[in-house]
């Protein structure tokens, strides 16, 4: 079993990790690096709770081998959370009751971040379209959609 050294940028910091063949980014983040905001829901690419951004694009970390992100830029929820405090998207999720059990929340926020980075003023349909790969079994989605609309208003075209 030939483990390999993989170098990539994680949340703005260059890191070097040793991984067994075909280890997924999800397993690396949660089990090796202790970054547990990235959830392990279905491990089938079906629920979206493991969504991370690779060069700004949402991807399912449960389906992504670590070796495939060699040299790339990976962002997780830890990476967009300021210290101290919360990112605007986190604040609006909290204030709009867009979080119940919380398991889908990191994936939802990562997709919202990617959407608002591309489109600072998304319409309702565009928000729904962006979220189709992320399941929430608690909220019924409406508070999440409203939270993202509120985030867009507060950011007013200024991301981060």
């Amino acid at each position: 079993m030939a483990s390999k050294i993989v170098t990539f940028t994680l949340n703005g910091r260059r890191i070097e990790v040793l991984v067994k063949p075909l280890t997924t980014v999800q397993t690396l983040l949660r089990d090796q690096l202790g970054l547990t905001s990235t959830k392990a829901g279905c491990k089938q690419g079906g629920c979206g709770s493991c969504t991370v951004l690779v060069n700004g694009d949402p991807m399912m970390s449960c389906l992504l081998p670590v070796e495939d992100v060699q040299g790339q830029e990976v962002t997780t929820l830890e990476g967009i959370t300021p210290t101290p405090g919360l990112h605007i998207i986190q604040e609006v999720f909290y204030e709009n009751f867009a979080i119940q059990c919380g398991y889908c929340t990191p994936g939802m926020i990562m997709v919202s971040k990617a959407l608002l980075d591309r489109n600072p003023h998304p319409g309702r349909e565009e928000i729904i379209d962006a979220l189709t790969g992320n399941y929430c079994r608690c909220t019924g989605y409406e508070p999440i959609i409203q939270a993202i609309e509120e985030a867009a208003r507060r950011m007013n075209g200024n991301g981060n």
Binding site: A2, L22, Q44, P58, M59, L63, L64, D68, A114, G133
Partner: protein
């Protein structure tokens, strides 16, 4: 997981050499949206896996009258193909955003039904595939590519490297019917391209997915349309021929009976959509 080796070739050349060396015991993986769930679940436990993300196959070029798509181009990349709206539409109806960022055009050709809708759209456009091995390259039509459930005309050592799509000369329409509006497996998917000379149909291609062992052509329906005018009578005849000739299956999404009924409805709607576009 007991995968012992994961190869990440940096070129097609390197990929075909690895394939020649490790042969059928190596799983070839594109975007990972089909293979990784099976591996995570312990259903498949390949000892050797080859990923193609770094093999330089993520490109779209547009030589005269043709669109050439590298097999590792993602479905997200297909959303920019303004020349072929039917492919934009088909790509947009696959999975959610993150899955479209990972899933590839080449990988979709190997997605067992009810997945593989994008391949049905390619089939209606008469796409050709470029297959490459260490021995050389050959071109085969997508319609001839499928030989059975999860079997293809690929010879040992061959990789699909490129999908070549002629820019459609006829009118096209695409309808996918699933149980939800988005991110859903198909009950049936219909992709059609019809060429008309005045009122008469000169050439027709109707591809169906989720109602057979792989994306299929509704050839009897195509025959009925050939040389006939495209009107409600011929459309109804073609739709019932398609329902008769398809080979649907029962799964968690729909029964065989229901799928067959829906083939008739959706072939009719797809062809009607084409007449509306005149």
């Amino acid at each position: 997981m007991n995968t012992r080796e994961y190869f990440l070739p940096q070129s097609v050349n390197e990929a075909t050499q690895l394939l020649a060396k490790h042969g059928p015991f190596m799983l070839v993986m594109a975007g990972g949206t089909i293979a990784m769930p099976l591996i995570n679940e312990g259903i498949s436990f390949p000892q050797k896996v080859m990923g193609l993300r770094r093999a330089g196959l993520s490109y779209v070029t547009k030589p005269n009258g043709k669109i050439t798509i590298g097999a590792m181009s993602t479905l997200t990349q297909m959303l920019d193909l303004k020349e072929i709206p039917i492919l934009q539409e088909a790509a947009h109806q696959v999975g959610g955003w993150a899955i479209r960022n990972m899933g590839t055009v080449g990988g979709n050709l190997f997605a067992p039904p009810p997945a593989g809708d994008f391949a049905a759209a390619l089939m209606a456009l008469d796409a050709q595939l470029k297959l490459v091995s260490t021995a050389g390259a050959r071109i085969i039509s997508l319609t001839d590519f499928y030989t059975g459930f999860m079997t293809t005309a690929l010879s040992p050592g061959e990789l699909v490297t490129e999908i070549q799509v002629p820019v459609p000369t006829g009118k096209t329409a695409y309808l996918k019917y699933g149980r939800k509006h988005a991110n859903t497996p198909a009950v049936v998917t219909v992709a059609a391209q019809i060429e008309l000379d005045g009122e008469g149909v000169t050439n027709s291609r109707i591809a169906l997915n989720a109602v057979g062992p792989h994306p299929i052509r509704a050839s009897k329906a195509e025959e009925i349309l050939s040389g006939s005018p495209l009107n409600p009578t011929t459309i109804n005849m073609a739709a019932s021929a398609a329902a008769e000739e398809c080979e649907p299956f029962s799964d968690a999404i729909a029964t065989e009976w229901y799928r067959r009924k829906m083939v008739e409805v959706y072939v009719r709607r797809t062809l009607t959509k084409i007449t509306d576009r005149r």
